[in-house]
């Protein structure tokens, strides 16, 4: 097998050296030029994401758990899975008792949670590491405490977005946050609920991932 590897690499090297290729310089200016004034970023993100059926809720640092509670009650959502070890998780549970939505901690490996996660739990809550104005995309940065499937399996994904963590472009976000030095197991950009147009180009939402994406904007 390593023989295959070596023969492929040797061939590539030999033929490249026989006909070297000088690429033009990569000028990132056309992407760097994409900038929006601070007050324009959130409305733009909202407009782009609403165009693909994302829902938005507005809250403050003080009242977001209550806003969420009310929303879930209003929508008749019976269960919400969350990350208990994160700051957000700890805030969430304070004063939740009165709610009609059951809170389920994601506190064990997926294998021990699979049937419930797929078949009964209705919503999942995650944080974000900001959002991108150019395309209307949330940055999701799953961790050991906040697993990947929280934002994937339940029918409703609720994402907490701090209104002061907005970037112009994907490129700017990855540079400012130093991604290249510390890529986690999985990073995601999420720009709406799951969708498909594979049946005669008719847009349908909720094919495999969440059917609904709700962005809970926390204003400073």
């Amino acid at each position: 097998m390593s023989e295959t590897r070596n023969s492929i690499l040797t061939k590539l090297r030999k033929t490249r050296d026989a006909h070297p290729l000088t690429p033009p310089a990569s000028d990132f200016a056309p992407i760097e030029a994409k900038q929006w004034a601070e007050e324009e970023r959130l409305p733009r993100i909202r407009r782009l994401m609403e165009a693909v059926h994302t829902e938005f809720l507005d809250a403050t640092e003080a009242d977001w758990p209550a806003v969420l509670r009310e929303f879930l009650a209003h929508e008749g959502v019976g269960s919400l899975i969350y990350a208990p070890a994160t700051d957000t998780g700890k805030r969430l549970v304070e004063g939740w008792d009165a709610s009609s939505t059951a809170l389920i901690p994601y506190d064990r490996p997926l294998e021990d949670l699979k049937p419930r996660l797929f078949d009964t739990i209705e919503a999942g809550l995650t944080t974000t590491r900001g959002a991108i104005a150019e395309t209307g995309s949330l940055i999701l940065w799953p961790t050991a405490e906040e697993p990947r499937t929280l934002s994937l399996v339940p029918h409703i994904h609720i994402a907490l977005l701090r209104a002061d963590a907005l970037y112009d472009t994907f490129l700017q976000a990855m540079r400012d946050q130093g991604w290249a030095q510390a890529m986690p197991t999985n990073v995601l950009l999420v720009s709406g609920p799951s969708k498909t147009a594979d049946i005669e180009q008719t847009l349908a939402y909720g094919v495999h991932g969440p059917k609904r994406l709700v962005v809970l904007v926390v204003h400073p």
Binding site: M1, D27, P115, N186, T196, T202, V207
Partner: protein, 474 residues
């Protein structure tokens, strides 16, 4: 042509005679073209980002062997097992070996054109492993027992009614409803059960980052995330050209791919995977494998002109804009990659003996070149392959396969005629006097006159007419 070689002409004739199929493609391609155009309304932005994306791909190709080595190193450091395959048989064997070791019975797959190239599904099924395509379009095509007709929209050749009938026939308890939302939900129910139960998830790779050992996958449905997150083992397949140097090289590619492909600003999910589940993490596969496939790509790379084929980011825009593809549809090509990119890629992978017709299925209108986000000179490469088919340089598999004595004689006769004024005069005079008497069934005329009227020769040559007008010296 050997008995097994696909017959593009016959398949196109059949497709052209199917008004339903032509309607399905026409509608879909018109929609895709106008949505794409709306995304690139700012010409300055399009030119700038396009030049950047082309430079990213060219830089990657300029350092291809080094970047592949770095990718292997960084992936390995991240806990991804890297495998190399020279041929599709080798890649299939590697995949089977992993499946056997993990005792896998059920595989769920996200969209991967490389596995189409490998005919992986057939191989797995032959080995008693159930494999399920999970991209809705691929799922439809798999249920129907056919092949994708477009690299981005695999089931674009079918309309809602046809899909409703298919589901009714193949899925238990399906109602007969011609409603995209209902059909989508039906597929959701079937496939969610499979994601949960699958032993292995498979996917393609849109870009692999050498710097960080990251596999990037873009998609709208979430099935790619399911396949790469839920099953205990993930196997990713990539052609060896898919590597990019730096993480920063990803945004330009991601900026152009979805806009070119479907006219959306970005796909719903951009999924960047840099390893299996780490200790303490609660989900994600415990093993991630990356299979890097050559399958003729290193030979394409060897030729400085043909090498540009490997810039491709598989957006499918060239198909959407191709007048031939739009008329005959994807199946007429009988190839994993149809349309313009298919016409240059497939003959180089499979050889000109089998695929010599493909580079001719082109009007050279240049529409694909104008919209290709990484500026591949598709039409030039097409021309080169036509030449290779008759005058081989040795760069392309089965070069010279279409060489014909008669054709060579005709061309040398034509050259001689044009080189001598006397020969030219005699020949044109003969044609103007006798040309119209030649029956259209003559062997060499037949190809042309089959579908067109035979042109009439003028009774006087151009030179003759010019002389009569007093033009001196002709």
């Amino acid at each position: 042509m050997d008995g097994n070689a696909p017959d593009f002409a016959a398949a196109s004739r059949a497709a052209l005679a199917d008004p339903q199929l032509r309607g399905n493609f026409r509608r879909a391609m018109d929609g895709l073209m106008s949505k794409r155009a709306a995304q690139f309304s700012d010409a300055g932005e399009w030119h700038g980002v396009r030049a950047l994306a082309a430079s990213v791909r060219l830089r990657a190709l300029s350092k291809l062997p080094e970047l592949l080595e770095t990718l292997e190193e960084t992936c390995t450091r991240n806990g991804i097992t890297v495998h190399w395959a020279a041929t599709t048989d080798e890649a299939n064997a590697i995949a089977l070996d992993i499946l056997h070791k993990t005792n896998a019975k059920l595989v769920v797959k996200g969209k991967s054109m490389v596995t189409e190239e490998m005919h992986l599904n057939a191989v797995l099924e032959k080995n008693g492993i159930e494999v399920l395509e999970s991209d809705l379009g691929e799922y439809i095509v798999q249920l129907d027992g056919t092949m994708p007709s477009h690299i981005i929209m695999p089931a674009i050749h079918l309309n809602t009614k046809q899909i409703a009938h298919l589901f009714k026939r193949k899925i238990k308890d399906a109602e007969s409803r011609e409603d995209a939302a209902y059909l989508t939900d039906l597929a959701r129910r079937v496939l969610r059960a499979k994601f949960q139960a699958a032993d292995v998830g498979m996917s393609g790779v849109n870009a692999a980052v050498a710097e960080t050992g990251t596999l990037c996958l873009i998609e709208n449905e979430g099935n790619g995330r399911m396949c790469t997150t839920v099953p205990p083992v993930h196997i990713a397949f990539m052609g060896l050209e898919k590597v990019v140097e730096k993480l920063e090289d990803v945004p330009p590619v991601i900026s152009l791919l979805p806009r070119s492909a479907t006219g959306q600003p970005i796909t719903t999910y951009v999924n960047m995977i840099s390893g299996p589940r780490k200790p303490g993490e609660k989900d994600g596969p415990r093993e991630v494998h990356l299979i890097i496939l050559d399958n003729g790509r290193s030979s394409i790379y060897a030729d400085p002109e043909l090498r540009d084929t490997l810039r491709c980011i598989r957006c499918g825009a060239c198909m959407n804009h191709c007048p031939v593809y739009t008329k005959v549809g994807g199946h007429a090509y009988e190839a994993p990659y149809p349309g313009p990119i298919g016409k240059i890629l497939v003959p180089q992978i499979e050889g000109l003996e089998k695929r010599g017709a493909m580079p001719h299925a082109c009007t050279m209108c240049n529409a694909c070149v104008e919209i290709c986000p990484v500026k591949i000179p598709i039409v030039e490469i097409m021309g080169r392959l036509r030449v290779e088919a008759v005058k081989p340089s040795g760069a392309v598999k089965d070069g010279g396969a279409k060489a014909s004595r008669t054709e060579a004689m005709v061309w040398s006769g034509w050259a001689a005629m044009n080189a001598s004024p006397t020969a030219y005069r005699v020949a044109t005079l003969a044609m103007s006097k006798l040309g119209n008497a030649a029956p259209s069934s003559l062997p060499m005329l037949k190809e042309w006159t089959n579908v067109r009227t035979k042109p009439r020769f003028a009774s006087r040559t151009l030179h003759d007419l010019a002389r009569a007008k007093g033009v001196p010296d002709v």
